[in-house]
Amino acid sequence: MGIEGVGARVSRKEDKRFITGSGRYVDDMVVPGMKHAMFVRSPHAHAQIKKIEVKAAQAMPGVIGVLTGKELKADGIGNLICGWMIHSKDGSPMKMGAWSPLAVDKVRYVGDAVVIVVADTKAQARDAAEAVEITYKELRAVTDASKAMDKGAPQIHPEAENNLIFDWDIGNADETAAAFKKAAHVVKMDVINNRLVPNAMEPRAALGHYDKAEDHYTCWTTSQNPHVARLVMSAFYNVAPENKLRVIAPDVGGGFGSKIYIYPEELVCLWASKKTGVPVKWVADRTESFLTDAHGRDHHTHAEMAFDKDHKILGFKVETKANLGAYMSLFSSATPTYLYATLLSGQYDIPAIHANVKAIYTNTAPVDAYRGAGRPEAAYLVERMMEVSARQFGVSPAELRRKNFIKAFPHQTPVIMCYDAGDFATSLDTAMKAADYAGFEKRREKAKKDGKLRGMGFSCYIEACGIAPSAAVGSLGAGVGLWESAEVRVNAVGTIEVLTGSHSHGQGHETTFAQLVAERLSVPLDSISIVHGDTDKVQMGMGTYGSRSGAVGMSAIVKALDKVEAKAKKIAAHLMEADEADIVIENGALKVAGTDKNVPWFQMALAAYTAHNLPGGMEPGLKETAFYDPANFTFPAGCYICEVEIDPDTGQTDIVQFVAADDFGNIINPMIVEGQVHGGVTQGIGQAILEGANYDASGQLLTASYMDYTMPRAGDVPSYKLSTSNTPSPSNPLGIKGCGEAGAIGAPPAVINAITDAIGTENLTMPATPQKVWAAIRSAKH
């Protein structure tokens, strides 16, 4: 590795613009003639729309247009869709209800968009939005998935009887039942995985511009995957054919999953731009984000685990109710199925697993993938189960895990996944050492003397990233392939542009992707530019989510680099009259190995473009494209240990130590990987003790601003102790596993295991707020 190559802690190329205020986010974009939009949204969780009166609003100062769903439908704009087909255990397809971008007859959650108002200023649009008169007939609402299938519960979509979207099974019920018959111990638990709001700091935004002269649309949008946005808006929403629609996702201020999906607002802005003849910009305020960004998690689960007399796991039975909200968001069906139940084996050798998942409509915001997506739900369930079981058996939680670890690879689990590499015991040992496990009891004693309750909790998580290969996900119901594309353009002076279908919104691709190229082609980092986020520049791509950009996106670059390198070597060999097999790339030049003969990189590039002296039959230029479809998922895994101190008088939890020992496979830039873990762990701690979206029974979101939804702040978390011990992934050329979601997956069970250890009761739900912890301590005493 060089100082700028693979494995180096290179500071980020993209930082300069962000630290000087020169980043360009959607809200910073200005198009001549641009106007501002405000959406009129449903104040009710469930209601029929009786009448929409827009005249008064149209007459307000500055108003250019007030448009409804009826007009949108009349123009042939399609409904929003879920792009992953799940079949119920009886073979029937999932029951997807219609989701009109602007509600026409009925609203189904608070925040459902009904009317768009376009005006000269945002304030005027808001003034006019208040003047739109909508007559509703309120209907009863249901927000809790565990009650939405009850008799007499309100029916949300005519397509989904009893609000049941699908009733899906995985694993083997008979084998699992047989395993439970043999069991010496059965541990049962009910677990709630709390609903979260992703809260990227940049609110969602869209700027739609219809150019009448060219009959062409441009959409600037806060997207993690602009190409998928273009595909879906063209193919399903009928906004425009792909060649007439350009989607640009410029600097995007965080996503965490919430910016994967194509929401009503971007396509309505595009349509409204054509209707009104002006470019239309919409920027969410924070409360709109709370109400309408796809939420995450929200599972109710009952689980039972069977053990033999020596505490070896025999079987695992899981029943989950997943709340999908009022409409099926783009990948909402995949999250509680293939991204969740396929990870229920955890790091353990479990001979038999059976899981049932019921996906349920409620009158709440749509729920979809949020950092971790299904895998945090699985890890929380499995890791709570291991800890509680160990406590019930009176054995060490670490040793119960160690006894049941998978030790040989590849390992086929009973729930589809084939783990290809890992070393779980090493991560556990590393974490225990870093956490000074041996000294814990002394620390607990000291805390006791100070009137504090100290606890330690483990979490040995595993996840599946880089979802692939495309044929496999296609067979599981995915509506898209999950490959990635890359194009490497070597310019005539030897500088390089890499076009990628991945999208960076904080992950640092402009640096890590360039490091890979610098390493391979022996050129300076500064001579490499990464281009992404614009459908006019990059032909096609699948975007960034599921920790896939390293494992899949960079692998596509490797494939393109292979081709570039081969052609460059041919040219150099020809120029030096050498055998191309003898050419090596070193120190900015192509050399004949073992000699001092060389052609500088830039000279080779120039030769490719002057084309005066190329090998016979070779095309001029140096530009190569590749599409990469991985062979398998990757399986990042690790061990987290959390230590807490609790003030029993207030219930306040102080995270006094947090240790992460991860296995991410090979690492391009350790500094960036650590940053991903810091952020992920903090979101995981947030889920465990701070964050929870809370609807009242009527469907009003009580936590719709930072006044009521607790975001982790600097004072809520400690500095972290991180380490990695890496087994390379065999399924991609770089051996990368991915690191973007691990923290959010592994942290919640570690934190809750630590708190329950401290307070001596398992009777605690996330977020474990001071009030809840205080109440749990009191109820344990009585």
């Binding site: 304030a123 003034d127 409360t287 008088d649 207030t650 306040q652 701070l690 809370n694 009580l702 936590t703 930072y706 006044m707 009521d708 939804y709 607790t710 975001m711 707020t769 001071p770 009030q771 205080w774 109440a775």
Partner: protein, 264 residues
């Protein structure tokens, strides 16, 4: 935000003239401007009094402390004079909001707004402070009238607060994890007329004095005196962050800690 007319007052008299009808006074605006942004407040006019020099500054003469209404939380938190006369109040000011909020928010704005979770009202009550307006002087006990309600009349402007430095005082706060406002804030003071305990963030009807805790401390101003103290939950707020029972419990815990801190 709805349309509004902004005026910058040159003097208190000027402000009093402008503050008519649906107009509102604004100083730091740390509560009012956000409320206007979300359209929960819709004054016709805003009368800015933050740049009136006569309303600024901290004076300590003998035991008497006077703080101008437009003095920011930051200035209260960092005043050397006040740190000597009543460090508990400096400490309280340093715990309000965040640094940027403290740079703008003012003591006058906080007490005139009387948010049930604001910090200053508890200090004013416990210190037995006097609220000085352009028209009269009002004892803190008579000033705070309930949620966002005060004894202020139309056109009446808080110009300063004044109090006699206590022998001992301290403020302890348990924050709402999300908003960071007080779920329970307890200011205890031992002054000439004995122990006073005021509670913010918890009362159904805003800031209040806890007679139970004052009685317990009357005999002995010591945390031990509160060992078995109880506060009734009946008149306390209950929300998703804290039930009335939890608040009642926290009042005693915070009071105990405040007394210990005051004695330290």
């Amino acid at each position: 935000m709805y349309s509004v007319n902004y005026h910058r007052a040159a003097s208190v008299a000027d402000a009093a003239k402008l503050a008519k009808g649906e107009a509102k006074l604004v100083s730091g605006g740390m509560t009012l401007i956000p409320a206007m942004k979300t359209r929960l407040a819709a004054p016709s006019d805003l009368v800015d009094i933050s740049r009136i020099d006569a309303l600024k500054g901290i004076k300590v003469s003998g035991k008497t402390v006077t703080i101008g209404a437009a003095t920011t939380h930051y200035e209260v938190a960092t005043s050397d004079k006040l740190a000597k006369a009543c460090p508990a109040l400096s400490h309280l000011a340093a715990m309000i909001g965040d640094p940027a909020v403290r740079h703008r928010g003012t003591i006058g704005g906080s007490i005139a707004n009387n948010d049930p979770a604001a910090d200053y009202p508890s200090a004013m009550l416990a210190l037995g402070a006097t609220i000085v307006t352009n028209k009269r002087q009002i004892a803190a006990d008579k000033f705070f009238k309930g949620l966002f309600e005060t004894a202020l009349k139309d056109g009446e402007i808080v110009t300063a607060v004044t109090f006699s430095a206590p022998a001992k005082a301290a403020y302890e706060k348990f924050r709402n994890p999300a908003s960071r406002y007080a779920i329970v804030g307890v200011f205890v003071a031992k002054g000439a007329d004995g122990a006073r305990v005021a509670v913010t963030g918890a009362g159904d009807d805003g800031v209040f004095r806890s007679r139970e805790l004052e009685a317990a401390l009357a005999k002995q101003f010591d945390a031990a005196a509160l060992a078995s103290a109880k506060v009734p939950a009946k008149a306390l707020m209950s929300d998703m962050h804290a039930s009335a029972d939890y608040r009642a419990h926290l009042i005693v815990v915070m009071a105990r800690r405040a007394v210990a801190a005051a004695n330290a």
